[in-house]
Amino acid sequence: MSQLYRAAASEGLIQHPLDSMTLIFQKSSGITHMVADPVPAILTVMGTDALTADDITGRLSDSYDLEDSGNAADIVLARLVELCSLGLVERV
C-alpha cells in the first residue's frame, strides 16, 4: 500500500454534480466521465498531493463520516485503480 497516487490537475477537469452522479469532463481527452461517490470525494481530498491509498482514506475519514471504515482502504484502492485506467489519477 506504499504506491503513491496523484490526481490529474484540477484545471484540466470540469466537475459537475448532477443528482447521485457527478460528471467529470476531461479536457485533454474530451471524454465525459460519469462517476458516483466516493470518486468526487477522493479527487477532492487528493488535491495536488502524491498520496498512498491509506493517506487518502485517512483524509476521507477526517472530512466525511465513513459508514464502514473497516474496508474503506480497500474501496479507495479499487477506485484508484479504476481512476488510473481512466487517466484521472496517475501512479507516481
Binding site: 459537475h16 443528482d19 479536457k27 474530451g30 465525459t32 460519469m34
Partner: protein, 199 residues
C-alpha cells in the same frame, strides 16, 4: 442533408429532437423512433404553436437559445391519417407505401414556421414522449437526462468542452419529464398542464 448536418455542424449543439415555440419559449421532444416526437410537433404546429423542427434542435452554446430548423415533416404510418384530419391536402406530398419504415408521407410545415425561422427561443420544457402507454408524466433524474441527451446529440463529442458546458447548463435549467400517451389529445392535455405551470 440530415447526415451532412449531423456530422458537419459545429456552431450549435445538435439534438435529435423536435421543437415548437410559444411566447418565445421552446418545447423540445426527443426519443426513439416511434415515440411520436415528430407527429406531436406537427400536430402542435396546427394548434397555436410555432413549428421549429421535427428532426434537429440547434442549441446555441453561447446564449443557451434554441434555433429552428424547419423542414418537411416526415409522417409515418398512422401519423399520416392523424395529420390528414387537421392539415389541408395541398400541403401533403405523395404517399409512399411499403418503404422499409412503413408508409411515409411528407407534409409542409405552416408558412409561419419558415417566416420566423430566424427567431430563436428559450428552451423551457423537455419531454421524452412515449406513444402507446397509459397517459402519465414522470420525473427523470438529471443523470439519466444527461445520458439520454448525449445519445440524442449528433455532435456532442465533436464540440468538446463547449458541448459539455452547453449540455450541463441545459440539464440544470430546463424542466424535463417523461410523457406517456395514447393519442394526440392526451398528449396535448398533458403538455398544456405542464406548460401552464412554467415560470
Amino acid at each position: 442533408m440530415n447526415l451532412q448536418m449531423a456530422l458537419g455542424w459545429r456552431r450549435h449543439l445538435l439534438l435529435h429532437a423536435s421543437s415548437v415555440e410559444k411566447d418565445g419559449k421552446a418545447l423540445l421532444m426527443t426519443g426513439l423512433s416511434g415515440s411520436g416526437k415528430s407527429t406531436l410537433s406537427a400536430m402542435l404546429a396546427e394548434k397555436g404553436w410555432r413549428f421549429m423542427g421535427d428532426e434537429f434542435a440547434l442549441l446555441n452554446p453561447d446564449t443557451g437559445m434554441l434555433h429552428s430548423f424547419p423542414r418537411l415533416i416526415s409522417l409515418k404510418n398512422q401519423a399520416i391519417a392523424t395529420m390528414q384530419a387537421i392539415v389541408p391536402e395541398n400541403r401533403f406530398g405523395p404517399l409512399m407505401k411499403g418503404t422499409p419504415k412503413g408508409d411515409i408521407r411528407h407534409v409542409k410545415p405552416p408558412l409561419d414556421a419558415v417566416n420566423k425561422m430566424k427567431d430563436a427561443a428559450k428552451p423551457a420544457l423537455l419531454l421524452f414522449p412515449r406513444f402507446g402507454h397509459d397517459p402519465a408524466l414522470r420525473d427523470i433524474g438529471k443523470s439519466e437526462i444527461f445520458v439520454r441527451l448525449t445519445q440524442a446529440s449528433t455532435n456532442y463529442v465533436a464540440l468538446g468542452e463547449t458541448g459539455f458546458r452547453a449540455l450541463t447548463q441545459f440539464v440544470d435549467t430546463v424542466p424535463t419529464r417523461a410523457m406517456d400517451y395514447q393519442s394526440g389529445d392526451q398528449a396535448e392535455e398533458l403538455i398544456d398542464s405542464l406548460w401552464s405551470k412554467l415560470p
